[in-house]
Symmetry: C3
Subunit: 153 residues, 3 copies
């Protein structure tokens, strides 16, 4: 096992199978030392985590949904380049399915941000944007895309 896989085991995190490519896009593309990862929708154990913050998803459930999207990002990074090639988590783009009066997107996004720091330590600390959207693919609660700097292969 690698160092990061050891750390995942310590944290009790089992990576799911990385979602297979759908249609004409792919989960991740590496170019110029940066790995761009497709938006990962919130799901766990093969079940979509659906709903809208401010409506039928509580703050705690939203944080768990963001963490679940983060775990899917880890699975995609691992499949694309291997987690031990991560040099730095550079940026997360967090989209939170929100009613017009829900304004705690940063707290929701922390579910993914804290995961990255827990798994990678200092190199897991990233830039981030977090915004509300009125709807997401398949009705999920959270979608997160990412940019990761990778060591030369």
């Amino acid at each position: 096992m690698s160092k990061i896989h050891d750390r995942l085991a310590e944290l009790g995190i089992t990576l799911p199978a990385a979602a297979a490519p759908v249609a004409s896009y792919v989960p991740a593309v590496e170019a110029g030392g940066l790995l761009h990862i497709s938006g990962q929708i919130s799901q766990q154990d093969g079940q979509l985590i659906k709903g809208r913050l401010g409506e039928d998803v509580s703050l705690d459930e939203g944080i768990a949904a963001a963490r679940a999207s983060g775990i899917m990002l880890l699975a995609q990074i691992d499949k694309a380049v291997g987690l031990d090639r991560v040099e730095r988590i550079v940026k997360l783009g967090v989209f939170v399915n929100s009613t017009g009066d829900f304004t705690d997107q940063p707290k929701v996004a922390n579910g993914a941000s804290e995961l990255m720091q827990d798994v990678f330590g200092e190199i897991g600390r990233h830039a981030r944007s977090a915004v509300g959207v009125p709807t997401l693919p398949l009705g999920v609660a959270v979608e997160i895309d990412a940019i990761v700097a990778v060591k030369a292969g």
Copy 2:
């Protein structure tokens, strides 16, 4: 004609004039081997493709709108660096004007994703995020921005 222009001709695609810079921003900036392209709003033959998915734009019309935004991206890439300098389509960011209960953003986004694969083949396969938004500039149905890896000039 270049290889990619040949391919466009085979597909029966005529590139429109690339939209001119507006105000203080520009259509595309190259840095570090990556070309960042401004969000291209859905339009065809100089007419905006307006409306909202789930309301007054059907799924098929949405797919066509995403394809139209994709064709504008191609026009911008061609003007900025020339289509034959494309090394890889790295990432599309797809924003779909959606009602709160429309959740087929991925199907809409495929209109642009399949275009990229049709035009570029394997190097056209990209990472992607697709989200719903409640409104877009000038009321258009779709806006897409892009990151493209380019060969040294």
Copy 3:
């Protein structure tokens, strides 16, 4: 004083203190010659600029909010690498808190775009996306993230 700080003084712009890191994310990460800056929410003199375009925020107020987010971006760039290391403002991602019938996101975004050109001149001209969202963190009117190419340190 540096060249860009001189220019800020000419424009009568005083940079605020760059917001401190919150939770597990950081304001800016440099990788591969690109600095990715976290989404900066609209605020001025320590006060959030809240509200929604099309509802309780006028177009002029929205433009001022985008400019305020732009000034926070400058403060973050300065803290992270120093403004004089800016080689090019590459991309702004502009999210405008909007009602469903507000479609002037580009005019709002110009508040930040024109600031970048005023401060940096030609190298301040950037690619951009501007979209509407139904809500933003803490209820602010505008959030903007950025990608900046930086000279070797």
